[in-house]
């Protein structure tokens, strides 16, 4: 099974797609290229258009008002769902309750008029692949959530689709099972070498499985890239705050003889290494809570670090770390300090100093 895919994995191209539900625009001039064999993720909050985009590739939902969808070289924009050969795994699995597991998995092959003998063999192989061969005669209602998920996967890959689409497939599972299933899906994709598009609103899920991902908001693709590049180099506020927790400070860039600085009010002055921004321009400084070191008020600044002074206004114990909210001038910054047994923490209202390495600061145009 695996060999057949690796040789013929196809890419997906989405060209200038615009789509509305009635008068409400849902996708606005979306352009994307997904490489053959890639594990690609659409990440975004609910209502961002990520599921609509996925369903568009499968041929469901309203037709786009402009643009086209290509799978390999084939324009599928106006093809009926049943003529596309893309496999969609539904959020709620959509297993047919009136059919056994075996019948569910055999359905697509029957519709493709595959000979009975071959159907039996391929269904066995697919169920074996997901480890459910023993449960072939069960009905979906007799399976656990994770087993239902595997049946849905087997049912989809058994027809050897050109592209595998996964619509929030883990959202109905409990936390432990979710971690296990996402590994299984990832392994399965690697084994089959199948071009896969995964939709989720959970950035941890996206980070762990994706080769690349696209962050969507309000029907617009905000940024495309590898998980780490999106986390480290977000292009705007939305991407920065959607991927993890971020301190975002409004201010401006200033150039003096001792280098370029980012200034916000009087309390925050951070040396930065940005050339592209004009001096005086409105800008947003981005740094992650774990990039700030929290120390006693009188601790000296290290080389290449900015030193900020403030006082602790809030404190949350999160297990592996302690998250402080520190008031610096008008701003409240979040600071993560890793927690070790026995280590003392700072008290509320205690004056502290914060240390920030300039390499950890990213300045975005405001």
């Amino acid at each position: 099974m695996s060999s057949t895919y690796k040789s013929k994995a196809l890419g997906v191209a989405i060209e200038d797609i615009t789509l509305s539900f009635g008068m409400t625009p849902v996708l606005k001039s979306v352009n994307l290229t997904i490489e053959p064999g890639e594990f690609f993720t659409f990440l975004g909050p609910s209502g961002s258009g990520k599921s609509t985009l996925l369903r568009l590739i499968a041929g469901f939902g309203p037709a786009p008002s402009s643009g086209r969808v290509l799978i390999g070289d084939r324009d599928v924009t106006h093809l009926a769902p049943w003529d596309r050969n893309v496999g969609l795994v539904f959020q709620n699995y959509a297993l047919w309750p009136h059919m056994t597991v075996r019948k569910n998995v055999a359905f697509g092959l029957e519709e493709h008029k595959v000979p009975a003998q071959e159907i039996r063999e391929r269904v066995d192989a697919a169920l074996d692949l997901v480890g459910l061969l023993d449960l072939a005669q069960r009905r979906p209602s007799q399976l656990s959530g994770g087993q239902q998920q595997r049946v849905a996967l087997a049912r989809t890959v058994v027809v050897e689709p050109q592209v595998l689409l996964l619509d929030e497939p883990l959202s109905n599972l409990d936390a432990n099972l979710r971690v296990q299933m996402r590994r299984e899906i990832h392994d399965l994709q690697r084994k089959l070498g199948l071009t896969t598009i995964f939709v989720t609103h959970d950035q941890e899920e996206a980070n762990t499985v994706s080769d690349r991902m696209a962050v969507l908001d309000d029907g617009v693709i905000q940024q495309v890239g590898s998980p780490m590049s999106l986390y480290d180099e977000p292009v705007n506020r939305f991407v920065a705050s959607f991927l993890g927790t971020a301190n975002l400070v409004d201010g401006r860039v200033e150039k003096t003889e001792d280098g370029t600085h980012f200034l916000a009010n009087d309390a925050i002055r951070i040396p930065v290494a940005v050339a592209e921004l004009q001096p005086g321009a409105h800008a947003v400084a981005l740094f992650r809570p774990q990039s700030l070191l929290i120390r006693e008020a009188d601790a000296p600044a290290a080389q290449s670090s900015a030193r900020l002074e403030g006082k602790v206004v809030h404190r949350e114990f999160l297990g592996s770390l302690i998250r402080y909210a520190v008031a610096v001038g008008d701003h409240t910054l979040l600071v993560d300090d890793s927690h070790q047994t026995g280590r003392e923490c700072f008290d509320m209202q205690e004056r502290v100093s914060l240390h920030l390495d300039r390499a950890q600061v990213r300045v975005l145009p405001g």
Binding site: A58, G59, F60, A63, H78, L79, A80, P81, W82, R84, N85, V86, G87, L88, F90, Q91, N92, Y93, A94, L95, W96, P97, H98, F107, G108, E111, H112, R139, P140, S141, R155, T156, V159, S171, N172
Partner: protein, 569 residues
């Protein structure tokens, strides 16, 4: 767009065929009736003179008042039966739900006119109850005198409509509604008046308007009790005795339709925007408590009295069907199988006709209802909602009106090859039954379709199944329970329907059960066989209902837990 328009061709053709059927057999006949009502019988010009004549004639004035009075009083009496039962079962812990479920099918398995004669023998001035009362207490109660009889018979049959709707409304009230009122200091009767009563009101109104509608339109019961000064019997008598050219039958039809629409509109207004049940989720129903000793006695007494009342037509009918002579006595003089023998020897054509007509009508209903449900809920065809509206429109059209409309519209239309008017061919009875029961089958099928998550269809299409293959392999199999429920409801109610068929039966050999019962009950000597035929009808409907119940239950056990795929998570 290509993919969409290509997928719409099949449903489009189907929609046109269904639309034509509804136009020809529902819209045109009803429009014809309304048109004739406003037409001068001599000149053919449009006029209001027929209505003026109607309201000037004292018999019609009286009939109009009587129909309103009977319908309104039936609502009152039904409420008296239903309110305590609904309250007991939702407020106290006791085995009332089984009774409610059982009562729910009573109006379904026996229409009031079948039991009317038996009720007269039990509750009439010389009936069993009054004979006993006179003997032991020295007084009698005129249960069955004149209009009282109609009100009593109708209430006993139709009160479950109020009971079911009201119980559902009470059961849907979120317990936190009551608890938050208590938390804010409200209790006892004030709590009931300010919270429970307003929340349950829409359910009550819905049930009450249904009772009003059913009673107002009923033809069989007044006819059998020999009460002719009401609207439906007047319409029937005018058409059958004077002929289909007499305008009064049409005027009465228009008034019947108008009052039906008014009752439905009232129920619509009551329910509109007041679907309280779906607003809140959580603990369902009022807080229940155990009955205290004397309360238990009182509750069960009320329940048993009401149960006896509800079952009295069945008890009476059974006695009548086995009794030799039953007159001026508490029970029949002796018991015999002779009436059943008579029926089996001479009247089996009624049973066969009924099975054929009701079976065909129910089959047409579920096929059409499934198609309409799919077109309306799963396609994007323009005007598709109108199919739903037209099919549901039959709810507001009394059987008498359908009958008159068919006679008027199809009498001049000769069926090819058999060379007789369509209006007198037995097939027209099947069509009338199908049209009249279509709304119920449609609601059952729509409910069933809504249970099938669209993702289940999309999954099939995604795996290569076309729309029509998806309907055949996924949608229809998953709707089976609902379709079957629709079939049984249509079959059961069609097999005992009288008001449209009584006008369309042209030959004894074409007549169904209900007509046969009506014919037998006309004479004193025919009562026994008539009752036997009634019992046979009840058995047929009861068995069909029970079998479908079994089938649906078995399917539910097999795989129902997630027919409705959980939304979100």
């Amino acid at each position: 767009m290509n993919a969409l328009s290509r997928g719409q061709l099949g449903p489009g053709v189907l929609a046109v065929v269904l639309g034509l059927f509804l136009v020809v057999f529902l819209v045109v006949p009803v429009a014809k009736v309304i048109y004739v009502a406003f037409q001068d019988p001599n000149t053919g010009a449009l006029t209001l003179v027929n209505f003026a004549d109607f309201f000037k004639t004292s018999l019609f004035q009286e009939s109009f008042i009587n129909s309103l009075y009977v319908a309104a009083m039936s609502v009152v009496l039904s409420s008296i039966f239903a309110l305590p039962l609904a309250y007991f079962t939702t407020r106290f812990n006791f085995g009332g739900s089984v009774i409610i479920q059982t009562l729910g099918i009573v109006p379904l398995i026996m229409p009031p006119f079948v039991g009317a004669v038996a009720m007269a023998l039990l509750f009439g001035s010389n009936g069993s109850v009054n004979l006993l009362l006179d003997e032991w207490m020295g007084f009698t109660i005129p249960f069955m005198e004149g209009l009282n009889g109609v009100i009593f018979v109708e209430s006993v049959h139709y009160f479950p409509f109020i009971l079911i709707n009201l119980s559902a409304a009470l059961a849907n009230i979120d317990r936190s509604m009551e608890e938050s009122a208590q938390n804010l200091g409200s209790s006892g009767f004030r709590l009931f008046r300010r919270i429970v009563f307003p929340l349950a009101m829409p359910g009550y109104i819905a049930g009450a308007s249904l009772v009003f509608l059913k009673v107002f339109d009923d033809l069989g019961t007044p006819l059998l009790l020999n009460i002719n000064n009401m609207l439906a019997p007047q319409a029937y008598l005018r058409i059958t005795s004077i002929g289909i050219s007499d305008p009064m039958g049409y005027v009465i039809s228009v008034i019947l339709v108008a009052c039906s629409l008014l009752a439905l509109w009232t129920s619509f207004l009551a329910m509109k925007g007041k679907d309280y049940a779906t607003v809140q989720k959580g603990g369902g129903g009022l807080s229940k408590r155990e009955l205290r000793g004397w309360e238990r006695v009182a509750c069960y007494t009320v329940i048993i009295v009401i149960l006896l009342l509800v079952l009295s037509p069945h008890i009476g009918l059974t006695l009548l069907s086995f009794g030799t002579v039953w007159s001026f006595s508490v029970l029949p003089d002796a018991f015999t199988w002779a009436h059943y023998a008579t029926v089996f020897e001479t009247s089996m054509q009624y049973v066969n006709n009924t099975l054929l007509y009701a079976g065909l009508a129910a089959l047409i209903d579920v096929i059409f209802a499934t198609a309409i449900a799919y077109i309306v809920w799963r396609t994007q065809l323009a005007w598709r909602q109108w199919l739903d509206y037209a099919a549901m429109g039959a709810v507001a059209i009394p059987g008498v009106v359908i009958g008159i409309g068919y006679l008027r519209t199809f009498y001049d239309f000769n069926v090819p090859f058999i060379d007789k008017p369509l209006a007198t061919w037995w097939v027209i009875i099947v069509v009338a039954l199908a049209i009249r029961r279509l709304p119920y089958a449609l609601r059952a099928c729509v409910a069933a379709l809504q249970q099938v998550s669209e993702a289940l269809e999309e999954a099939a299409e995604n795996l290569g199944a076309t729309k029509s293959r998806t309907v055949r392999r996924i949608v229809v199999p998953l709707m089976t329970g609902g379709i079957l429920a629709g079939f049984i409801t249509s079959f059961a109610t069609a097999s005992v329907e009288l008001s449209a068929t009584i006008m369309l039966v042209s030959a004894e050999s074409d007549a169904p059960l209900a007509y046969g019962i009506y014919e037998f009950m006309q004479s004193a000597s025919g009562r026994g066989p008539g009752a036997a035929l009634g019992i046979i009808a009840v058995v047929i409907v009861g068995v069909a209902t029970y079998l479908s119940h079994l089938f649906i239950e078995r399917r539910r056990e097999a795989h129902a837990p997630e027919i409705a795929v959980p939304a979100g998570a």
